[in-house]
């Protein structure tokens, strides 16, 4: 899968960019705040409909204008080529177009283009709050499963409604008859989420463990497990998961009413990382945490390739300077010759001469991208 052209209009500091990358390694060289990361951000935005740097879409629109546009032609080997576009507006909701056809749901664009992004905040995934790991799971599984996107959207809505109802019951002291219907809706969409996460994590764990031990020289072991609300076997059918989840909801009903919120479900689950049996979040060194984060991301490339049938686009956003030589080499080894890759660096000395030799180099300066 690779991007043939990328056009940006009023996106970040790009007033008008037409960028034609190579289908191999693309090295974007420039000082900070010149727009290197914005190119990667735009690609990731088309893949997921979200930015990896901000949760506010308005930040993406060039200062002083009201509409921004991101457009790309994507070459795919397993599916037809596709043209993707997102239009951002200060006045209205963003618009998604696939092959120039406007889609009513933003989520429709997710999965058209697969991308894995590496950035400096990846380490927070290992050491930060569970919500960051759930976000990782949601973004990554969404890219390979439209069904997951759908279930996630429906789940959030049911959860909102159920929490509203729980607060209402708590304050009025009267149980309304519809709580059971909300429970079964939550169980239905929740079970789809849990089932997809179990399969994803099962595969991710295996790949990440292999990659981690090669990064750490084989003396350390990374284990990735899914800490889920429902105790259920990996191969259980969704109906069984839904039944178990529904049962759990009914046994915890009193507690949920008392707290005025839903205390169990995939919105509370976590991805647990351990190194040699110890929780990486609390006990790992910063170096180990960084390696674990990279192992997860590299593993994700394999998982995505397996699900989509072709390699994803890889985006390395200012991460090279943070890595030691061995990890840098490993990252490039896994991606080179397989994935269309975009790297941002402030200088070519940040990457191996062998990579520089095969890469296409672009200078990025104040919103202009020039091939060298």
């Amino acid at each position: 899968m690779d991007i043939q052209t990328l056009s940006l209009t009023n996106f970040r500091n790009y007033v008008d960019l037409n960028f034609i990358p190579s289908n191999g390694l693309n090295i974007l060289v420039g000082m900070n705040a010149q727009g290197k990361s914005a190119v990667l951000e735009a690609i990731y935005f088309l893949a997921t409909s979200k930015s990896h740097r901000t949760s506010r879409d308005m930040d993406l629109i060039h200062v002083g204008v009201s509409i921004a546009r991101v457009n790309a032609h994507v070459d795919r080997s397993e599916r037809n080529d596709v043209e993707l576009e997102i239009v951002l507006s200060r006045a209205e909701n963003k618009i998604v177009k696939i092959n120039t056809v406007k889609h009513p749901k933003i989520g429709d664009i997710v999965g058209q283009l697969n991308a894995v992004i590496f950035s400096n905040s990846d380490i927070d995934m290992v050491r930060g709050e569970p919500s960051l790991r759930r976000r990782f799971l949601n973004l990554e599984i969404s890219q390979v499963s439209p069904q997951y996107v759908y279930a996630l959207g429906r789940y959030k809505r049911v959860l909102d409604q159920r929490n509203n109802l729980l607060r209402e019951i708590k304050s009025s002291g009267v149980q309304t008859g519809d709580l059971g219907a909300w429970d079964s809706q939550l169980a239905q969409y929740g079970s789809t989420i849990i089932a997809r996460r179990m399969k994803f994590i099962d595969f991710l764990a295996e790949e990440a463990a292999k990659i981690y031990s090669s990064l750490a020289g084989g003396s350390e072991e990374l284990a990735v497990t899914y800490k889920k609300s429902v105790d259920i076997d990996l191969h259980a059918p969704e109906s069984e998961i839904a039944a178990a989840f529904a049962k759990l909801l009914s046994t915890r009903r009193g507690l949920d009413i008392m707290r005025g919120t839903t205390t169990i479900g995939p919105h509370r689950d976590d991805l647990v990382l351990t190194i040699n049996g110890l929780a990486a979040r609390e006990f790992a060194s910063q170096g180990q945490q960084r390696s674990a984060a990279i192992a997860l991301k590299l593993a994700e490339i394999n998982v995505m390739q397996e699900s989509a049938g072709e390699a994803p686009v890889v985006l390395l956003d200012d991460v090279m300077a943070e890595l030691d030589e061995a990890r840098r080499a490993r990252v490039l080894e896994i991606t080179t010759g397989r994935c269309q890759t975009f790297i941002t660096v402030t200088g070519l000395e940040e990457i191996d001469p062998s990579a520089v030799a095969v890469g296409s180099i672009f200078d990025v300066q104040s919103g202009k991208v020039t091939p060298r």
Binding site: Y150, R157, D160, Q161, E168, T176, G180, A181, W182
Partner: protein, 198 residues
């Protein structure tokens, strides 16, 4: 913006309407200014007539200007099948298909805790009351396939199950998360044919 008082009043009334922003409200108000007096009176009368003559049918809770709505008073319609919808506009959508010959029941909304709408605020008690004479053999739950529409259907299905009546839910072919009144007729017909028991 400074309008003469009566004009300002009209603009602000239009602004209260759903889907009308300040710009459209202004455009509508200026349009009214330009039309002749008869046209304006006709519009005003139409608004007042709707308020005066349109009531809810006491049987199905659809809008009507009669003591009982046209569908409920039509002797040729099949009284053994009842189609449950959330809004009167859904009856209009269903009727346009010319496929359904049964009766309707309009709930007047869907269950939505975040909007403060609980089951007791919908015409659900009235629906159960319609079941007592045993004439209705089948119920089609045709609320929109939104989260709230689904939950409402599920809740009603739970109440109807013990009564031994056949309960089905339209589903197939409906655009996901879509509204019934936006669905094209072919889709609706298909949805009706492919209804499943719940």
């Amino acid at each position: 913006m400074h309008y003469a008082k009566p004009l300002a009043k009209l603009v602000s009334e239009f602004e209260k309407l759903p889907g009308i922003g300040p710009k459209s409200a202004q455009r509508l108000a200026f349009h009214i200014l330009r039309i002749n007096e008869d046209e304006a009176r006709e519009l005003a009368n139409a608004v007042m007539d709707v308020k005066q003559y349109i009531k809810l049918c006491p049987v199905c809770f659809n809008y009507t200007d009669q003591p009982r709505c046209e569908i409920c008073s039509d002797a040729k319609r099949d009284r053994s099948v009842l189609c449950v919808v959330s809004e009167p506009r859904d009856v209009v959508a269903m009727e346009k298909t010319n496929e359904f010959r049964g009766m309707y029941h309009v709930l007047g909304g869907v269950i939505s805790p975040m909007d403060g709408i609980g089951p007791e605020m919908l015409k659900i008690r009235e629906l159960l009351a319609r079941m007592t004479d045993g004439e209705v053999k089948e119920i089609i739950l045709a609320t929109n396939p939104t989260i709230e529409g689904d939950t409402t259907a599920m809740y009603i299905a739970g109440l109807l199950k013990p009564l031994g009546v056949k309960v089905s839910r339209i589903a197939h072919g409906m655009p996901v998360g879509g509204d019934m009144d936006y669905a094209d007729q072919a889709t609706l017909i298909q949805a009706l044919q492919w209804r499943r028991e719940i």
